[in-house]
């Protein structure tokens, strides 16, 4: 073996043994990634010394370790299956900033438009909610007139996939989401606020739209992804 190769072989052995300092380790790691022949030397040493692995004992780690791994890898998916995405959709600050700004603008612009259109009907307190997610292009505006308990839902963005329905949900604080009908629904599926919920329709109430099988959720709880969400605001 020529001197250069012998030095490389020794360097590979030192790297696998773990005795190098951080700077040397980093330069070796670059060579492993870029020089196939050098990577083979490292792999051979890993194989040679792997006989020592039997000296590492088996010590079960505490359960908190697994929980930590799961939260690092999967927490965003678990909390919102509709938005499974690397990086944690719901944790992205940029999203919330953008969403908050968008929501405020949408509420001001759209509510003024809708109020003008329905000027004659709006006698008592009226609430508007702009629903969107920033993740899909589906957007809705929900207008509620407290005096007559009339609810008007208008889709302002996105196209409904075929074979699916949009279902509107009423979420008061930490309470369960309650279906208030299908967007564009007719008859019993038309969105309306039941008498017992009328008193709960107030500023800050959350409304959400999920994507459900045709005819709406078969179980009474949202089964599909939530594609738009927003809060009611008094106007």
């Amino acid at each position: 073996m020529p001197t250069g190769e012998r030095d490389d072989d020794a360097l590979a052995a030192e790297y696998v043994l773990g005795v190098l300092d951080q700077e040397e380790r980093e330069s070796v790691e670059i060579r492993i990634r870029t020089e196939a022949a050098f990577a083979v030397l490292v792999r051979d040493w890993e194989h040679r010394l792997s006989d020592l692995n039997s000296e590492f004992e088996e010590i079960p780690p505490p359960a908190s370790v697994k929980a930590g791994v799961e939260s690092k890898l999967f927490s965003s998916e678990d909390s919102y299956p509709g938005f499974a995405e690397e990086g944690g959709f719901w944790n992205r600050l940029g999203f919330w900033r953008g969403f908050a700004a968008l929501a405020v603008v949408a509420v001001i612009v759209l509510s003024s438009l809708l109020v003008q259109q329905t000027d004659e009907q709006v006698a008592g307190v009226t609430y508007v909610a702009a629903l969107s997610s920033g993740e899909t292009d589906a957007e809705f505006v929900v207008l509620y007139e407290a005096e007559t308990a009339s609810l008007k839902v208008t889709q302002t963005g996105g196209v409904k996939p075929t074979g699916k329905d949009y279902e509107l949900w009423f979420i008061d604080g930490d309470g369960p989401a309650i279906s208030i009908g299908l967007v564009d629904g007719e008859g019993v599926k038309a969105p309306f606020i039941p008498d017992h919920l009328k008193g709960q329709y107030k500023e800050g109430l959350s409304l959400a739209v999920s994507l459900e099988p045709t005819g709406g959720s078969p179980t009474g709880v949202a089964t599909g992804p939530v594609i738009a969400i927003g809060k009611a605001k008094k106007i």
Binding site: G18, L20, D51, F56, P61, K66
Partner: protein, 182 residues
């Protein structure tokens, strides 16, 4: 206990983002890998922290295993060892120099003759080659691999200049290689 083949199959499924396979892999390999991070970092909190990072790496890098011809368990241990050694060299673990000797004593106690005999039956080939080295050099190589000592630490422990330590270890490693290839 899963066979080496089973672990390789689980790793292949993990490469395809199969969470069920990942859970099974964790269940069957985490005790061994915790043994690795704990032995190298010698601090429970650091070892637990490192083990989390190791499994995050395994989830993301499982595809790389297919490209290596190592046994699945060796590959996992390599990931854990490399991560623990990087932590040591970056000064994130085993910070206090004074704890080194203390920790060394613990390790000497743990390698009791009974355990060595059990381990020895599984790795007779390398043991036979280690026996051909001087006792202190054999000890230095094993300590580096199993305890994560750097050249600097080994030189201090053996009270020799760093370059002497480097020459010792390089020669010992080459002797080991020759012996293993006989």
């Amino acid at each position: 206990m899963l066979s080496p083949d089973d672990i390789a199959k689980l790793l292949a499924r993990v490469a395809l983002s199969d969470r069920q396979a990942f859970n099974m892999l964790y269940e069957h390999t985490s005790a061994k890998l915790f043994g690795v991070t704990l032995r190298l970092l010698r601090n429970k909190t650091d070892a637990e922290d490192a083990l989390q990072d190791v499994y995050v790496k395994i989830w993301h890098q499982a595809g790389k295993y297919a490209a290596s011809d190592a046994s699945a368990m060796s590959w996992l241990i390599t990931v854990a060892r490399n991560h623990a050694i990087d932590r040591l060299r970056q000064g994130k673990g085993r910070g206090q120099q004074e704890s080194l000797e203390e920790a060394g004593d613990i390790t000497d106690d743990r390698v009791n003759p009974e355990m060595s005999a059990v381990a020895g039956s599984e790795r007779r080939r390398i043991d036979h080659c280690f026996e051909r080295l001087d006792a202190e050099k054999s000890k230095a190589v094993k300590e580096a691999y199993l305890e994560g000592y750097s050249y600097k630490e080994l030189a201090e422990k053996n009270e020799v200049p760093l370059n002497t330590m480097r020459t010792w270890l390089r020669r010992s490693l080459m002797k080991l290689k020759e012996c293993l290839e006989e």
